[in-house]
């Protein structure tokens, strides 16, 4: 590769000449930048939509779940929490955690490409 002979120069010139023309470089740059600006909207929409639907379905069941004393612990710290907090508050708390989870995960997925 470091040999210094006329063919070496000719070969280098041939590879240089075979590089794409500069006149479409800007188009190429714009295409790449366009893809950086919106990494994968479809994926985010599908993930977000599925997550929101799941959360909504789970949310409708939560109040009933937290109203049923047979399903909840009665001892320890969790027992205290469930005793002194209304089912509505508990359901709202769980939903808030779910939403926070999506707020963290979806942007990460977007940047991961």
């Amino acid at each position: 590769m470091t040999m210094n002979d006329p063919f070496e120069d000719r070969l280098r010139a041939a590879f240089a000449a075979a590089q794409p023309a500069d006149d479409d470089a800007e188009d190429f740059v714009k295409k790449v930048q366009g893809r950086l600006a919106r990494p994968d909207r479809r994926r985010a929409l599908v993930l977000g939509g599925a997550g929101s639907t799941g959360s909504a379905v789970a949310g409708t069941q939560l109040e009933g779940f937290f109203s049923n004393p047979d399903l909840l612990p009665t001892d320890g710290i969790m027992g205290q929490v469930f005793t002194y907090t209304s089912p509505e508050m508990l359901a709202a708390g769980v939903l808030a955690l779910m939403i926070a989870g999506f707020a963290v995960v979806v942007p990460k997925n977007l940047y991961a490409g």
Binding site: M3, R10, F15, P20, Q33, A112
Partner: protein
Amino acid sequence: MSRGASDEELIALVVAARDGAAFGELVRRHQGVVRGLMQRMCSNHALADDLAQEAFIKAFNKIGSFTGKGSFRAWLCRIAYNEFLMSARKRKATEKAMERFKHDVDDVEAPRDMGSVVDLDRGLKTLKEDERVCVTLCYAGGMSHAEAAEATGMPLGTVKSHVNRGREKLKAWFEAEEAMAS
């Protein structure tokens, strides 16, 4: 502003702030080499440009892993080469692609000027797969032998032999073509 900055300064901007304009300038500077490399490997200019785009997107996403050891261009070319290999595997056609590259002379797309570019692609097709890869990485990608060895996973001595042998074959091929033409 970013036009006067060095590659290292632009990379720092991209790493720190995911600066799209700074990355655009890096793409502008290195697109010729990466696209040229892909075109010599793929023989299909549309596919080559798609793969080059993918390579730049990958580079953007993992630019934090660029340690500054070696040139940014070599790092990009390594990503581009891996992208080419992955694409060939996905199409279950690594062998077929290489076979096509060797024999399917008529399928070479006519680039903007006929003649030297087509001649180069035809000459490259006469090389063995490993020779062609090493010659292309070193001449189209501007990689050193050591960088090409790192990119391909081949021993340094093997890369040197492939480049020298490939170069000699190309020389013989060009001389034969010229003899036939005259």
